[in-house]
Symmetry: C2
Subunit: 336 residues, 2 copies
């Protein structure tokens, strides 16, 4: 059960095993999501559906479902809770798009562009309230505590990121703190609640929390690397958004730390918002490449993904654990 | 205990009795509010404090406290819950200001103007999450159900109002439905939870809910009347905001319903956004005066305030009930 080394590297990790592990339960979660985003106000399901039906990997609810498989949970309570997790995530995406003035999301026009900021903010609020209604229906105060706590931490992380925006002096430590809050807190909570509904030990709860949290950090690091990675197709229309918004992500932090005085002056001007042309972005990408800052960011991501996998060592080996390990491997191999 | 007619009209009703009734408990609520809006991210208490410390009548937490007095509750659980209610309210105000592009709130620059839309949206999210954390700490699933349900209804009401904006054909029924959701639902929930923590009967819970809901409708009607009332000092800097935003409130609905064809054409153009000059507002105010639409709106408000008072008839007469009745009378006398 423990002691063996969890194999990290394999050839071309995919999400196939975790998708297959959770497919049946995810159908049920999707039904709940579609059912509970309805409202007598037609704009609500229309706007929510624009984002929710528009795909998305359902990573966070998948963690709840996979965690439940891992601990051998036999009930169905986690379906509603996984839907609640996805609603929290959707609400934060809607608000993020307003906050960032995003133009694209999941390959199509962002909700704020199609429906305007006001409706986007309010439908986010609706989904957030709805998520709490789902949790209340489930009736576990422990789950409510975990998810309301995670929600407060997410909001703090978002404000913190806003505060750090256009501040070239943001350190790697501060950045890790921010993504630990804005991204990893919900990954951690989504995983942890699987152990809660299954009434497993504190140690197992914590292990799932650790898995989710480290995976969330790895996931965000890779997202941030992809935004500056010339070698990937995932860099689509939104490429360079972080740069133009003056967002301090790890590739920039590392390129700045490793840069010459002249390069640092470029970064100061760019992050302050005075260099937003395509040629500036091209120069930024070149500096990041010069200092291997994307590779270094991906290496950090691998570190956290490895920690995520090792956190699972207290669980017996089997289909669920293997699928979760491969999901972590996939998370850091994206965009290669 | 019941049977007597609750005296509605008195000379110059004030909030003094309800303020005095709830003063000690409100100190405790204010402490909790100040304590729980803190965060390691300094922008959060700064922005939240801008609105929270900036006054506000604390109407909604006051309802929880007064209701607790009315039912003779001896504990202190309602302090935390009243703070949670105020956090929900504050979160919706912050988001409203972003949605409406407000410039002033409570006599000073609105948070969105001072801190920008992004931070205002996110701190609203934080306060909303924090309110759920407070409820979870209290630990009553029943209270959580009431307040999460109210939050979802508020968000739906806000979206509904947005959908009705600039639609001259909005009916009085639709308007009442909207304000029942966006305003009265939280008044109702704030009152109701007093009976829940005191473990009183369903009938008493319902009576407090009815009091709060009707009071909330009366309160919103008077707010909407004041925006077009030339005879009041409360019409300060924000006067005419509803008009310029094309918001369909009862004074407009009634003036339109009672207007000539020519007047209706004016309203159609104005609500559609083609008449936003000071002279247009002056003309709107004149039409509303001509058809007694402010007076009629106030009369509707009196009706709901009376229903609020009568809902209290199942409770014994005494200081608490008298204070709550006078608060309802005050609500509809504002701005005279």
């Amino acid at each position: 059960m423990s002691g063996e080394v969890i194999q990290f590297r394999r050839t071309t990790p995919t999400l196939a095993p975790i998708l297959s592990l959770t497919a049946t339960a995810m159908n049920s979660v999707n039904s709940i999501i579609l059912d509970r985003m309805q409202s007598e106000i037609p704009l609500i399901p229309t706007l929510a559906g624009h984002l929710i039906a528009g795909g998305g990997k359902r990573m966070r609810p998948m963690l709840t479902l996979a965690g439940a498989e891992l601990v051998g949970y036999q009930g169905t309570r986690h379906h509603k809770l996984a839907a609640a997790v996805e609603f929290i995530h959707t609400a934060t995406l809607l608000h993020d798009d307003v906050v960032d003035g995003s133009e694209m999301r999941r390959g199509k026009e962002a909700a704020n562009i199609v429906f305007g900021n006001p409706a986007t903010v309010l439908v986010g609020d609706f989904l957030f309230s709805r998520s709490f209604e789902l949790m209340v229906e489930d009736g576990s105060l422990k789950v409510l505590k975990i998810l309301s706590g995670a929600s407060a931490i997410i909001a703090q992380g978002e404000v913190d990121q806003l505060t750090a925006q256009r501040k070239i002096e943001t350190s790697e430590e501060r950045y890790l703190h921010i993504i630990g809050a804005k991204t990893a807190a919900l990954f951690a909570a989504a995983s942890r609640i699987a152990a809660v509904v299954a009434e497993r030990t504190d140690a197992e709860e914590q292990a799932l929390d650790d898995y989710g949290r480290n995976l969330g950090i790895a996931f965000q690091l890779v997202d941030d690397a992809i935004d500056y990675d010339t070698g990937t197709e995932e860099m689509g229309k939104d490429r360079g958004d972080d740069f133009r918004e003056g967002k301090m992500t790890l590739p920039v932090i590392l390129a700045y730390a490793r840069g010459s005085d002249e390069e640092r002056r470029f970064w100061q001007e760019a992050i302050a918002g005075f260099r937003t042309e395509d040629e500036d972005l091209a120069h930024a990408v070149e500096l990041i490449r010069r200092h291997d800052a994307v590779a270094a960011t991906r290496e950090r991501a691998r570190h956290f993904a490895q920690r995520a996998c090792d956190a699972l060592s207290i669980f017996p080996d089997g289909k669920a654990r293997q699928a979760m390990v491969e999901a972590a491997q996939f998370a850091v191999s994206r965009g290669y």
